[in-house]
């Protein structure tokens, strides 16, 4: 049950687009910085395989510039 956090950089001027795209993915939770083109992202998936698929989807988002892993936790559901 991985929970991972990332720093996400958007392409200049496309932060809002990136937030919308990430919010459309149910396993993602996003907090946007107010004064930088940067988001903090937490992913919550059932297993590594699902996490891998999710990352592929995220990396396919056009407004994404860079996805950088910060931390990973593996925890049982609740």
């Amino acid at each position: 049950m991985p929970i991972k956090s990332y720093v996400v950089h958007s392409i200049s001027g496309k932060k809002e687009e990136l937030i919308t795209a990430l919010n459309n993915l149910s396993q993602c939770e996003v907090v946007s910085a107010k004064n930088q083109d940067v988001l903090a992202l937490v992913t919550d998936t059932a297993n590594e395989q699902e996490e891998g698929i999710l990352i592929e989807k995220i990396e396919a988002i056009n407004s994404l510039k860079l996805l950088s892993l910060v931390s990973g936790f593996n925890t049982p559901q609740n």
Partner: protein
Amino acid sequence: MSMYKSVTNRRSFIKKMAMLSAMTAAASMFPGILFASEQEKGIPEGANLDWKKGPCRFCGVGCGILVGTENGKAVAVKGDPNSSVNKGLLCVKGYHQIMCIQSKDRLEYALVKKNGKYVKTPLNEALDIVANKMSETIANHGKDAVAMYTSGQSTIPEGYVASKLMKGAIGTNNLDCNARLCMASAVTGFLTSFGADEPMGCYEDIDHADYFITWGNNMAEMHPVLFSRMLEQKTRRGVKIIDFATRTTRSSTASDRSILFEPQTDLAVANAICYEIIKNKWVNTSFVEKHCSFSKGLTNMGYGLEDNYKFADKPEKIDFEAYKEFLKDYSPEKVSKYSKVSVKDIKYLASLYGDPNKKVVSYWCMGVNQHTRGTWMNNLIYNIHLLTGKISQPGNGPFSLTGQPSACGTAREVGTFTHKLPHGVVMNKKDREMAARIWKVPVEKIPSKPTYHATEMFRAVDRGEIKFIWTQATNPLVSLPKTGRYRPAMEKESCFVVVSDVFPTPTSDVADVILPAAWHIEKSGLYGNSERRTQHWDKMVEAPGEATADAWMFIEVAKRMGYGDLFPYSKENHVEEIYNEYRQFHEGAKHGMAPLEVLKKESGAIWPYVDGKSTQWRFNAKYDPACSNGEAFHFYGKPDGKAIIWQRPFEDAPEKPDQNYPFWLNTGRVIEHWHTGSMTRRIPVLHQAMPNAYVEFHPDDAKTLGVRNGENIKVSSRRGSCILPASINERGLPTKGQVFVPFFDENMLINDVTLDAFCPISKEPDYKKCAVKVEKA
């Protein structure tokens, strides 16, 4: 971890931690990054929060914070949008500060060592023991056998009652503080150049300057909110940041230009800049003629390495021609050879200062102050600004930054140094008379000679001269240089050690009595920040157990020692009563402090506070009502109204790399942790982001030594050693031949390795330069 009350299960909690980790990582990449919505998000739904204002607990920037409390608990922190310091911004430490107070190992009750074990003791009994021991020591060994070592984190009222107790009631000058380790050179720099302590400008300079030149100063990590304000001006107005340092840091990479120099040679480069300014006729002649004089002092002063070292400078007036002659040794061509700064870069720096159409602010902190010639370095930066007349004007000025939240307000203004009084110094009869009048003690009670500065105070503990020492809000057995000497000294039977603190530390580990101190928001108080801003806050939450404000513990001990008449304060209103008494010391246009009712309403006020107004730029008649010479500028700290341009030479460091110890050791801080880490290491998200110290290598040195990232390395000097994991191409990049180690980690005590050499004038130690060898552990 009850900060986020909406967290109801472990998984949600871990998600919250993961989000905070990402925010921390982003904050270290983008200083001043704002995730304010996250603060609001952590607040329980439907919560009825009471937001209370105050200053941040950590660095000397003095950001305004709003703490949200609910049902007597602090549950959220956000930046105060009304504070002109941070305009709603906070750094990662600021956001998470209240999380430490819920730490499981919080000191809630007094502990008294009995037969080698700490026994929980009612606070009243512990204070009896402290008072009795202090009185007994004075009776048996004299008043100079007791000492107090306080902090730039002590509040203004705490510093004030400490000074009154030691100097006014007991009658000893055995009072010093940890600001000696970080700010003393700034003080002596200001006093020697201007006769008045603390910066003449303010943070609003950031909004007016064209160039920022940072001297040995990693603001992106140490003063991130100010640095983010500078970056904002870079984006908005195209201002430039020039980083002049011995190590490539996050500040260097965010700057427009990074110029590296060989440790200690900043002295020579500063003189070379002055040489160029004069050679190119960039001197603001009318300013210098009207407002400056020239002096020289003694040279080859030594480094204070021996016990009982004494030094007194002998200033001598010189003229401009003599100063110009002295500078002939500092042509860029000559200085370039040993500073490793190119002639072109020296000339470039000089041209920025020399251009009359560019406004320049110089910032510095520990790189300049923690220097065996720290006072000289401060003088030299002032020389540059004085020669060009770029001083005391919006966007033009030298600005020495502080590291602690009240290094200025408490240590420097109240004066918790051995030589200081709340107004002036113990050596001055008029200052002693003023203190005696306000304190209502006979003037003879206040001794006229300073005794021990910080390093010498702990040497005196080692020598057995000090037999009782009380430390508050400080952790000297992690922060002193050469702790390998001072830890055994504090463990000696000859000295009774009292430690008041919020958490256990390596210093409290050697205490005979541990007093549980209230944390910042658990008491009312006042701090004074780097820009002369005094900020007040009201108590926001109750302290746990018997934890009590240090000021009140001092008062209780004073009463027990028979000095009750001098401390007639009430428990409920002592902060207000003490501040009102203290304000009398600074009455007048030069240092008037704002009334408490103003400070309660506003997010601080800058002294001199005159006719209901803060003074943002001192010594400039347009802004400063204390100017009285009829000219545009008046350096009224000096009897002749003139600032001094000092002739200060380059002199070598006391210990340089050699065959046996071939590397420079530089020590410092990281963004995640505050000083010795006793608070920030108890904040899970910060601890997780930076769990331990490390030794940073230049990649070429790592390659030569065959060192890989993470490999354990033993760093040794002639004094001690420390084992840490190697760090290559991670946080910072030291120059070749240098290693860097942060000092926040009590499990990797790099100060066992450092050298206790200090500036002979300020007595501030140099943590930035000593010789070490490195080997695989």
